[in-house]
């Protein structure tokens, strides 16, 4: 009995697509921006202390709690009962540095503080319609 292979792929009736066999998965922003989804939290930015680093009020900050925080990382820290986003400096002493000349560095010595996570991206809308989508109300 002769055997015939069955092709499960769809074949165009006209010319076969020249892209056949070259297809990639479409790009996925989640996969690009999220390290570990279970450890990723989104926070709403208030205030202008980090505008120099490209973090503006109303932005959505992507925070990865799975990442180890190091000297020079932009981090979210709970200080005195509230979350703040700053650059972490570990030496010569632990300081949170704002990226705005009008704001003062925050010295952590003697304060109650706890790392929340490393900030990896800031989602910034460029026009009113986009803003309404990521920042309703």
């Amino acid at each position: 009995m002769p055997e015939l292979p069955l092709f499960a792929e769809r074949i165009a009736a006209g010319f076969p697509s020249p892209a056949q066999g070259y297809m990639d998965e479409p790009l996925d922003l989640n996969r690009l921006c999220l390290g570990e989804e279970a450890a990723t939290f989104l926070l709403r930015v208030e205030g202008e202390s980090m505008t120099g680093a490209g973090i503006f009020p109303g932005d959505i900050l992507v925070v990865d709690r799975a990442r180890e925080a190091g000297h020079g990382d932009i981090v979210v820290v709970a200080v005195d009962g509230a979350f703040t986003v700053k650059e972490l400096q570990l030496s010569p002493e632990p300081v949170l540095l704002p990226h705005n000349p009008r704001h003062q560095p925050l010295y952590l010595e003697g304060r109650e503080w706890e790392l929340f996570g490393v900030a990896t991206f800031s989602v910034h809308a460029l026009d009113r319609r986009s803003r309404a989508r990521v920042c309703p109300g």
Binding site: A39, F41, L42, R44, E46, I60, L61, A78, G81, V85
Partner: protein
Amino acid sequence: MFALVDCNSFYASCERVFRPDLKGRPVVVLSNNDGCIVAGSPEARGLGVRTGMPLHEARDLIRKHGVAVFSSNYTLYGDMSRRVVATLETLVPQVEMYSIDECFLDLSLFPDHELQPLGQQIRERVARWVGLPVCVGIAPTKTLAKLANSLAKKDAGAGGAVVLNSDARRRGALWQVPVSAVWGVGRRLAGRLEAMDINTAEQLAAADRRLIRKRFSVVQERLVRELNGEPCLTMETQPVPRQQVIHSRSFGDPLVSLPALRQAVSDFTAKAAEKMRQEGLCAGRISLYLRTAPMGKPQQLFPHTASASLSPASLDTRVLSRQAGELLSSLWKPGYRYGKAGVMLTELSPAGQGQASLFASQETTRKEEALMKTLDAINASGKGKVWLAGRGMKREEQSVWAMRRAHLSPAYTTRVEDLPRVY
């Protein structure tokens, strides 16, 4: 080997992740409708606040010590629970979600000397990734893992993880545990065991298996085997096919009039129907039950349940709602204060292949399905809501029977307008 991972004071801990100002402060979470306390942080328990305590009894303690009070936020707890499971899945091959704050892990692939470090690694990773404290119990059976977990929680010196991987350790654990604290031993069984002079887990493990089976059943005999390190329970990772969909709620204030109750029942039916359609099912029977208020008093209404069969099986909110309305008319009696209602859909079968009735054409069924699909899509889109007018036209009307949740925290992780703020 199995592990049981249990989140410490889960609801209170979830609330604290996004409220750094509450670190070290007492926190309590209230039941549906803000009636009584269902969870408390260790600080709150230290003040004498107990689970099950009615809120009004705890009022003085709350005021005096500045206890933070929250309504149950199941949207938040559900998402945090999902994150815990996903985190555990990065460490072990098989995770069974046993309850919203407990998971069993299959550790059969791990060599003995790696169990204690793994217990620590689990604790550290969940704390770091999700921000929640957990305890870990590791043992050859599920029953022992549960027991090891309760010891990990109690014994501050254990470092939050207890491994019972030798006979000596197992015995050392069993004698500390009263029989009533063994997983699967309820209050009644504990009483009967104590009457047989079986007071500790150790005594139950040493009990004559045949006698236990004769006096009770194979379930209790299995318990004895499990306590001896003989695994009888296995991982249950297959979800059980759904037998019913229920939507029931207590009312913020007791309802007296039929029209208000009718709106609530219409809403509950719509919610149950939507949940059922999400799983691609349709119902062959609908039931309604009513509870008279106030809570805790015996049921005054008789009968308080009614049900009707649906032919053909239906997924159409309009059909279900009409039927629920008829059930309500048959049950409702004037002069009572109604505190709670519930709608239950049963005899579930996959939609789209239900037996067609003699009188309903395939065509109408298809149209109903399409309409319901559209309805669900609109309601899920976040752009607006569509509902049957029977549920009440305005928000104010709905608030008459809505659940009381005066201390509800934001849905920090699932709603874009509720994100925690960072300065």
